[in-house]
Symmetry: C2
Subunit: 244 residues, 2 copies
DNA sequence: TTTTGCCTCACTATTTCTGGGGAGTTGGAA
DNA sequence: TTCCAACTCCCCAGAAATAGTGAGGCAAAA
């Protein structure tokens, strides 16, 4: 029955198996270094993307560059992150938008710190709005890179998937709150707020009093651990509880 | 350099290639039927999950069952959907929570309509909180099923990925609006608002007066075509202009 | 060189939101 | 049956956000 899209071949050395059996985050770091050597590329990186500081990452970049990236807040500038966030399918770095001044400055800085001129990144999304990026980077011409990505893109999707699976499993402090679901009415309220309705309009649309609506918003805010309505809507969106 | 995790083998008949070249949603339906025949399983299904009704789906279930599923609102009861929503990795149906009365009633109804006793489902997440499930179902004993899933799980992850990619590409109404970019300061302001800061806190964090901050918010709101701050943050989030 | 976009600051009046209360019904789960 | 979660409604005062203006400096692009 095996159609062989992802057939395990002898020469892989069971890398995916090893990944599946990883017990600690250190094992991921070892695995990613091993994988880099086998692919014979300059860098492989897997990292989470989130605004709230605490985020996991492993890879083969120069630690100086990683430190600099975090300090400079490059997460908000990096066209790779922005581009991945907007897409589902893997993206080649060449096809991203590098037009802004900040992006070009970032690119220059990155290359100066050893990041390759070529790159291919895979966006990965987990429950509760978890978002991560798996990137492979190398120094070579367009033609070689084209061949490499064409040959390996399916592998890379799988590798990215397994990295994310393990990172989610092993990262402590993940799922402290079991993502308290919103009630149907709360979902409606949050959704309408997210599309720009004022409280009065939402109440009218839902055919309830504004007082009642407020109870829902309060309740949703409490469940989401949000400071205010805007925060609550943002959380509901990024956790995938509402869709606009 | 190909490590062969996802090596294309001759006997696949280039099914993933065909999937990549699909031009219409009909092609997905053809592809999923073809895939079912090749895997020699009872059913394959790919469908979106979203609160707002409109959702795409294709598969080999009895149309009567699909109709019934939608009418009865099984989307909110189905342990497969709920389980997938909470996990990242594929799940075997046996490992889900079927304990509630509603779930057991649903299961009975499903089997009565031709759904297999065994199943394996893969959650898939795209941008803007998009969420879909790719399921394979069959009638057999636990041992055979174990062998099937063990053999094909990596294939299935890839197939699910490609189905989602195509569905996102082909489904109308998903055309991202020409997202007018925000200035760096506007991005900072929107991001801080999205993580729950009040205007006063944002202004302090950015070391600017609240008056100035207001100008950014207004400007961002105008660029995003938003009615109010909450709306603006929601749009910035779902267009991937900011990351929380 | 002119225009355009970005960053910075200010005022006033009005509308909207938030944070405290309290209270009743219904339907499903333990 | 009892309990709980969800849904509905009400009051009030203070905090926050919005709408309508205004202005100047600076840097890059046309």
């Amino acid at each position: 029955m095996n159609l062989g899209f992802a057939a395990e071949m002898p020469e892989t050395g069971g890398l995916l198996e090893r990944l599946e059996e990883a017990q600690r985050l250190d094992d991921l770091q070892t695995a990613i270094e091993d994988l880099r050597d086998r692919y014979r590329v300059d860098h492989l990186v897997y990292h989470w993307v989130s605004a709230n500081g605490t985020q996991y990452g492993c890879g083969t970049y120069d630690p100086v560059w990683v430190q600099r990236y975090l300090e400079k807040g490059y997460l908000r500038i990096d066209p790779v992150v922005i581009g991945c966030y907007q897409h589902f399918h893997p993206v080649d770095w060449k096809r991203l938008d590098w037009s802004s001044k900040a992006a070009r400055a970032f690119q220059k800085d990155a290359i100066a710190h050893g990041v390759g001129n070529q790159g291919y990144s895979i966006p990965i999304r987990g429950p509760n709005g978890q978002f991560a990026v798996f990137s492979v980077s190398h120094n070579c011409d367009d033609e070689d890179w084209e061949e490499f990505t064409e040959t390996n893109r399916r592998d890379l999707i799988l590798v990215a998937h397994y990295f994310n699976q393990k990172a989610l499993e092993l990262e402590p402090g993940r799922t402290p709150e079991p993502a308290q679901p919103l009630s149907p009415r709360e979902v409606e309220a949050m959704t309408l707020l997210a599309v720009g309705y004022s409280r009065a309009q939402v109440a009218e649309t839902l055919s309830i009093s504004e007082h009642t609506l407020r109870v829902y918003i309060e309740s949703a805010r409490y469940k989401l651990g949000a400071m205010n309505t805007t925060h609550a809507v943002a959380r509901a969106l990024s956790r995938g509880l509402i869709v606009v």
